[in-house]
Structures are given as structure tokens and as C-alpha cells.
Subunit: 333 residues, 2 copies
């Protein structure tokens, strides 16, 4: 670890602490993304996997396993599994969303085609399944199978709930669990299970991952509207232009009068957006305190994540996970 | 079973013998394709799964398990698993191939959209994974994980090998194992494994499914060019128009002189097809005995499938599987 450790982001401290494990995970990922017969597979996978993602999910698995004292080899397999599931999901997401950019680079569906993204995604799902089967642990298989179903169900729900002003906070939470929190919570839970942690600790790891994922996603939603300061920046308004029903919008719609509701119907449901609409949307969210309320929700989930950690052993990794839960919402303060 | 049993197709005799098991499989499929939150999932799934497919793959699993004396409940889960994997693959295939029809009905990607087909396919993969995990049998998980990877790899290989005249019979066989034989052989193998069959029988069940799948696919390839009689019918020439390198074409290309090669480059690689090209392609395949050779290959694989059955117990189901291997190539005689 570097001398100016305290100044590092929690993610970087985790990466430094887990460097040896992460090197093994990366080696396993490179080995398993190869294909004897179809070179297209490693090409597409490498484009995405080596684009400098933060590897947050596999680090959660490694941290959970190490925190619970694991000394065996299978946390590496599980971390690679989680990264493969995540990568497969991104490949399919970019097809579904018709995205052109991801991590600052052209998407695979743009560089190759939708076909390659769909099929290479399927290959990575199958590979992830092989990797977890190698652990011989039926319970981690069960957890990851359930997480995979929740992820896919959340994606379909997001597709059908999109642009529907009737979307409630309850549906929003299901979508968020699907797109973010289900894999976070599975990542931490399987780390505890493979380490043979007791039930209370396994539950705490699940709760931590779940709450962290939800806090992370709500913060993301808020930042897309410029955060609570509502300062319009470079990346502001993407969700608005894509007519996504994110948490601050849902809250503002719930509080809207007839005239405001007509505005939301026009810009979200009908998608007839004009100059000044983004500013008007932000003004309405501010007026009803929707941003402050969403921020309070995010902070609440962050607190729940940190509270869950109390059931876990005192360990430098526990502090880093605590700091991470703080960090994902720190930009909202 | 009906009185005119002998006149029935082997597939129908299997369906009659396994009727009670298949009813349980269908009930489990209906239960597991539901989604509490996303009604789009059962809509899309039902469209495909209730369109009257022959359910050949789940019947192979049931037949293998029963043939080996299985009396437990999990062959039902495995049969549903196999059907879900197959259905997920079809949903993604229709997106990749931009198909408009499947089983005589509009495809899901046409009725809904590509997004729904991709995501519901992912959901069914995850569901299949949950179903097989319920068996608690690590070896069937391993077999089905490997089959899933082979299927996806074969699809990518088909994508990249498409329209490439350098495609060899070896590559063709890998593609065929991916698109057809890997799921056939996994379907029969897991039936034996769950029944606790001995290693020789498990191996025989794998060999049967593998050879049956290859025979089935080569027969399909030939029938697309009118079979060995080369009679041009209603469905003749689909593969040709889609510029697919199927076995009779690969054999004809391998035997082509310079002028013939120029023809194949034009119609397959460049896709500049004109009136009369299909007839010319068939004439070239006949000239070089490519169809007769492909037919001999199909019959050879059918014989291998039947030979593998000899290691299995004497049982009415064994005779039906034998008849099935005969039936898939009978149209070529």
C-alpha cells in the first residue's frame, strides 16, 4: 500500500489490499475468455473487460471471502464468475439500449455487431456457470442462479416499465435490485459462503451488498440530474433524454399537479422534448423536494450497508467496505 | 398406446410412453416461466414454448432416465432445464438470424422486439440454471454448463465461419455439435447420470445423443436442397439463399475446379445470386457426388447412434430410441 493511503479512494485501497488475488482473477478471466475455435469471443470480451472497468464486483467477492478468513482457491473462481456475469449483462444491455459508447469506448455492438454481442454474452454466461460449478459448492450455485434470474427479470421489468408514469418506487426498487443490487449482494454473499462463515455473517454480507448496490444506483440517478446541487454538467440529462423513470422523477411525478403531470406525460411518456425541458424537469424535482428525498434514501441505504458490516469480524477489509459504502454517496453531500 | 402403434412415428411412440412424465414437465415449465413482476416474460415464452414444438430434447432426457430405471423426481427438472435452454437459444437465434418465422408463426423478435427476445432468453437461461441446481447433482450441472458453453461457442463459430468458403468439414462438425448435438447429448447423458447408470451406460447415452444430433442436422442440410433426389420443393433453397456452408456445399466446394469455385465465391461469399443459381448449385453437388457422400455420412452417424444403444438395458424405450435414430435419416433413403 502506498504512503498516502488515507487519501486514496476506498476502491483503490481495496485494490491494493487484494492485489495478489485480483492478479489471479485476471489471469483466470483471460484463460476462460479464450475459445479454441472462435477467436471472435476473446476479441469481443477483451474489448470490454480490458477497457478499464473498476472490477468492483469481483473485489467484493474477494473482500468478503478474505474478511471471513478464507484460505482456499475458490474465491478466485467466484470473483471471475461475477465479472463474467457482469460482462455478459453489459454486452446484452448495450444491444437492448442500442448504446454506442461504454467506458469511453465504442460498444461491441457498434464495433462488431448485435449478433456478436448477443452470442458472446451467452458464451460468458455459460463460462460463468462452468467457473462456479468448479467450486463444487451447491449453495453458491443456488445464490448465483437466483441472482441471474433476478437480473434478467429486472431487465425485462425495466423494459416494460420504461416511460410508464405509473412506475412506483416499489417497482423502481425491483428494477434497481435487478440491474445493480442483485449481483452486488450475490458477490458478497458467495464470498462468505465459500469461506464457511456463519449464517449471521452470510446474511450481513448479503445485506451489505444489497444496500450498497441500491445506494450506488440512487446516487447515479441523482448525479444524472446534476446531483442535489442540480448543477448541469457534461453528462447531465442522459436519463432524461432516454426518458427513464429514475427515483427523483418518480418522486416528482407522485407530487405533480395536473399541469405538471401534463409536462411529465409529454416529455417522458410521449418523448416530445423541447429546449428547456431538462431545466424545467429539474426545477419541478427541486420544487417538490424530490432530489433531497432521493438523497435521503441513498444515505439511508448507505447507512444500512454500514450497519450490516457490524456483524462481521474486525478486519482492515471491513473498514474499506465501510468507507466504500460512504464513498458511493459522498458525492451527494 | 394406440392400437396402430407400429404405424406411429418413433417420436409419437416416445410421447405416448412418456405421457405422464411429459405432463409433469409441461406443468413445471408453465410454473417456472412465470414472473411475479414482468408479465412480458411468460407472454414471450408461451408464444414459443406452446407453439407446438416436438419437445424432442426433454423426451430424450426422460427416456434416458427411465431406460436406466430412474424412479426419483429430478428427471422432470432436467427435462424442463433442457427445454428452457433450447427455448432461450431459439429466442437468441431468431435475433441473430433476423428471422421472421419459427414453427409457422411470427417470431418473438417480430411480435415484440429484439430487446424482449434477448432479455427473456437470458431469463430462461437463468431459470434453467435454477432448475438444474434443484437436483443437487454436481455432475449434471457440470454436463449442462459444458453443453451451454459448447452451444454458445458453436453459434459464434457459425457467425464467423458463415459465407467463408475455407470452412472445412471439421469446422462444420464443431458448428453442428454446437447448434444441435451438444444439447442432444447433454439431454441423454444427464438422464443416465441422474438415474445412477454405470459409466459405460452414461457414455453410451452421450454417444447416442451426439450421433443422433449430427445425423439429424446433416439430414436437415440435405433436405434443404431437396434431399438426395434433389427435387426442388416448397422449402428448398433456404440455406442457399442464406449462403450457409452446409455439408453438401462444403463437399462440392472441396471438389470444385477453378470455374466452379468462381461460381461458389459469387453465390456464397459475395452473395450475388441470380435466377438458376440454386439449380446450378444442386447440379454441381450432384456432379461431385456431394449429396450422396453427405447422405452416407448421415447414415453413418445414425448407425453410430444405434450401435451406442447396445450398451443399454433391453427396454421398450431403447427400441424407440433406436427407431428414432433410423427415422431422422429415413427421409434420405
Amino acid at each position: 500500500m502506498s504512503l498516502d493511503d488515507a487519501a486514496q479512494k476506498p476502491h483503490d485501497r481495496l485494490a491494493a489490499w487484494l492485489a495478489e488475488d485480483m492478479a489471479a482473477v485476471n489471469a483466470l478471466i483471460r484463460e476462460r475468455m479464450s475459445s479454441e475455435h472462435a477467436p471472435r469471443i476473446p476479441e469481443v470480451t477483451a474489448h470490454l473487460i480490458e477497457a478499464g472497468g473498476k472490477r468492483l464486483r469481483p473485489m467484493l467477492t474477494l473482500a468478503a471471502a478474505r474478511l471471513c478468513g478464507y484460505g482456499g482457491p475458490f474465491h478466485i473462481h467466484l470473483a471471475a464468475t461475477v465479472e463474467f456475469i457482469h460482462t455478459a449483462t453489459l454486452l446484452h444491455d448495450d444491444v437492448v439500449d442500442e448504446s454506442a459508447q461504454r467506458r469511453g469506448r465504442p460498444t461491441a455492438n457498434l464495433l462488431w455487431d448485435n449478433k456478436s454481442s448477443v452470442l458472446v454474452g451467452d458464451y460468458l454466461f455459460a463460462r460463468s456457470f462452468q467457473l462456479m460449478t468448479a467450486t463444487g459448492n451447491m449453495r453458491v450455485l443456488d445464490i448465483l442462479a437466483n441472482a441471474s434470474a433476478t437480473i434478467a427479470e429486472g431487465e425485462v421489468l425495466q423494459l416494460t416499465a420504461a416511460q410508464d408514469l405509473a412506475t412506483t418506487e416499489e417497482i423502481y426498487l425491483k428494477v434497481v435490485r435487478g440491474k445493480t443490487a442483485a449481483l452486488f449482494s450475490a458477490a458478497t454473499e458467495v464470498g462468505g459462503v465459500i469461506a464457511g462463515a456463519d449464517e449471521a455473517q452470510v446474511r450481513a454480507l448479503f445485506d451489505y451488498g444489497d444496500a450498497l448496490g441500491i445506494a450506488f444506483q440512487i446516487a447515479d440517478d441523482l448525479l444524472d440530474y446534476g446531483g442535489t446541487s442540480a448543477a448541469i454538467g457534461k453528462n447531465t440529462g442522459d436519463d432524461f433524454r432516454e426518458r427513464k423513470l429514475t427515483l427523483p422523477v418518480i418522486k416528482a411525478v407522485a407530487a405533480a399537479d395536473a399541469e405538471e403531470r401534463a409536462f411529465w406525460v409529454r416529455v417522458i411518456e410521449k418523448g416530445r422534448q423541447e429546449d428547456g425541458d431538462l431545466e424545467q424537469a429539474i426545477a419541478l424535482m427541486q420544487k417538490h423536494g424530490a432530489m433531497a428525498a432521493a438523497r435521503a434514501d441513498a444515505l439511508g441505504w448507505s447507512d444500512r450497508a454500514r450497519a450490516a458490516l457490524r456483524a462481521l469480524p474486525d478486519h482492515p477489509l471491513r473498514q474499506m467496505l465501510d468507507d466504500l459504502a460512504d464513498y458511493v454517496v459522498a458525492r451527494l453531500r
